[in-house]
Subunit: 87 residues, 2 copies
């Protein structure tokens, strides 16, 4: 449950800093940990396919998507932050 | 960069507790935050489609996948933990 606790923490700190204005946001995080294959090579393609899947369920404009790819010796990380339209 | 810092922390604590044995693991986290639509209704289907996409890139047996769905008043969370085969 540690990941969940972390997101509760993030949500609480975000809510405080925006004086209670709640925007809907979708976050997707993919972490390849302890990888010996080069995950960096497939994460960009995976990212496009995951985004295509998400667009089946929620309305997403291209400028509402922030993408971050990062890696170190031990893990590759793909992070998608999507601001959803108000409805 | 907070998410990345968090995962670095998790990796370090995991490495310590397993005396340096590094298994490859893929973690996927989807968080729908500030949702007014009922994200719980689409997350199970999204989960299946994301898993299908991941299986295009890495070899995943069904018993290697742990799935957790959770929600509270403010967010819906889908977590996939996949242990990858040694290679």
């Amino acid at each position: 449950m540690r990941l969940l606790d972390y997101f509760r923490y993030i949500r609480n700190s975000t809510t405080n800093s925006t004086a209670g204005i709640a925007k809907e946001r979708l976050q997707v995080l993919v972490v390849d940990e302890g990888s010996e294959r080069n995950a960096s090579s497939y994460l960009p393609q995976l990212q496009n396919e995951i985004l295509a899947v998400i667009k089946k369920y929620v309305s997403v404009s291209d400028d509402a998507v922030q993408i971050q790819l990062d890696h170190d010796d031990h893990q590759d990380i793909l992070e998608l932050n999507i601001t959803l339209p108000e409805h």
